[in-house]
């Protein structure tokens, strides 16, 4: 499945793009493909095999915890949004 990953501002210096198209049958596959393409993301998103607790991943509008987690299957054209915590107010 070909899906779009929306890249938040905090990670754009690594990807150089605001969105990235990847292939994957599940959230886990898509994220691993994403990280393989940009290895510097590994430490920002994952702690070992697990997503860091302050990184939220959404499939379309729904957080993946309320779907099937990282096993959630994907369909062509799905949009994955990575939402890292933002503590700043300017």
């Amino acid at each position: 499945m070909s899906v779009i990953i929306q890249v938040p501002a905090k990670l754009q210096p690594i990807t150089g793009q605001t969105e990235v198209e990847v292939e994957g049958a599940s959230i886990a596959e898509a994220l691993r493909t994403f990280v393989a393409r940009y290895p510097d993301l590994e430490d920002r998103l994952f702690s070992g095999l697990n997503l860091r607790p302050y990184v939220r991943v959404y499939l379309n509008q729904e957080e993946i915890t309320y779907l099937q987690g990282e096993s959630t299957p994907l369909r062509d054209g799905d949009c994955i949004t990575v939402v890292p915590t933002v503590g700043t107010s300017g």
Partner: protein
């Protein structure tokens, strides 16, 4: 949703009717709604990027009482976005310029200022007298403290945050939806998430996000429309796009879940790992700006490694330093000699600490971190380098 605030019985004065006439002719506000606004009290945590538009628009709208918690003074680098503070306010407490400008916009507003840092020692006492809280803080310990205090006191907490060209906003209110901890159960490790001071922010962005927060506050007071409860609004200024994500209440949330384990405020600095990070920094080899000046003057051979981004490098740099942005270090560290004495620096010392740790892991034995970064160098040694 029912209005948060009761309507006071006394009528508006002639001057108030003229001032608020564009509100009064809105059926959703009217005289009764305007009296609700006048009877409302709102506490703003922070008088910075978000706090500026919040204070200005909420006072113009006729909110009866605004409280402002901030212990900072105005810095020249604030003026690009913190529009409640003016050039002549640099070096003075933010709460002074905030109060002056609120009173200038609307003398009917009662302004209470608190020249303090919100913490678990004072949060409940500060928040309790107010009807709702708007979070415009710039650090994680205060965000978690504000959240927990609002949950414990049953107050709505209107959230906003900004970074570079992106912003987030939501309404957290445990009695009606999720809280901040439902979204982010744990804070990131210090230094892993850059601040606006490190990453930059479009000056207009806090205006947009702050106005969204102010809009939500007024809707809650009036009981009009659909509150941003259970929804996280994402704004991207470069795409000029708003997106919305669903937020759910976490039944296991330690503060607002079904079996809360957090029933009083905690040490939020500790929770966010701040003392541990400071201790780690103190333990690591570091060099002060004065020591570096002395070593350079003595002709000691040093490699100065600048791990800031190229656009920061353009603002100013230490003499004869090597430019290698933090993200490039893992791919370029073989340009350095592991036997050399290296001093790593960034803007304030946080990113360079991470670079130092990385290089030490690669076997570099003589890497020191410049304490306080180039900002400290500019303040103590070379005033010709701009602070940013």
């Amino acid at each position: 949703m029912n209005p948060l605030i009761d309507s006071l019985p006394q009528d508006l004065s002639k001057e108030e009717i003229e001032r608020y006439s564009r509100h009064l002719i809105l059926p959703e506000v009217g005289l009764e709604g305007q009296r609700r606004l006048r009877n409302a009290s709102i506490l703003l945590i922070g008088a910075g990027g978000l706090g500026s538009p919040l204070a200005m628009y909420l006072s113009a709208a006729g909110i009866g009482k605004l409280g402002i918690v901030d212990s900072d003074v105005v810095d020249a680098s604030n003026l690009q976005r913190q529009v409640i503070h003016h050039s002549e306010d640099v070096g003075k407490p933010k709460i002074h310029s905030a109060r002056r400008n609120i009173k200038g916009i609307n003398p009917h507003v009662e302004v209470e200022t608190y020249d303090t840092y919100l913490s678990s020692a004072n949060a409940l006492e500060l928040i309790r007298p107010y009807d709702l809280v708007i979070d415009g803080t710039d650090n994680f310990p205060t965000r978690y403290c504000v959240n927990d205090a609002c949950v414990l006191l049953g107050k709505p907490n209107i959230y906003g945050s900004i970074f570079r060209f992106e912003g987030q906003a939501s309404v957290f209110w445990a009695e009606h939806g999720p809280c901040y901890r439902c979204l982010y159960p744990e804070p990131p490790a210090p230094g892993l998430v850059p601040s606006c001071a490190e990453g930059g922010v479009l000056g207009i962005l806090p205006g947009i996000i702050g106005c969204i927060q102010a809009t939500e506050a007024i809707k809650l007071v009036l009981g009009q429309g659909d509150a941003l409860l259970g929804r996280l609004l994402l704004f991207d200024a470069l795409r000029m796009e708003f997106r919305e994500l669903k937020l759910r209440k976490d039944p296991k949330c330690p503060v607002c879940g079904e079996n809360p384990t957090l029933t009083e405020l905690i040490d939020y600095e500790q929770f966010c790992g701040i003392p541990q990070a400071k201790a780690a920094e103190a333990q690591g080899d570091h060099i002060t700006a004065e020591q570096l000046r002395d070593e350079l003057a003595a002709g000691i051979q040093l490699t100065l490694l600048d791990v800031r981004e190229p656009y920061e490098w353009e603002i100013g740099q230490l003499p004869d330093s090597l430019e290698m942005p933090l993200g490039d270090v893992p791919g370029r560290f073989d340009e350095l000699n592991p036997e050399d004495a290296i001093v790593v620096y960034c803007r304030s010392g946080m990113r360079s600490r991470n670079a130092q740790l990385f290089l030490q892991d690669q076997g570099f034995k003589r890497v020191r971190n410049l304490s306080g970064g180039i900002l400290d160098w500019a303040a103590k040694i070379d005033a010709s380098i701009p602070r940013y």
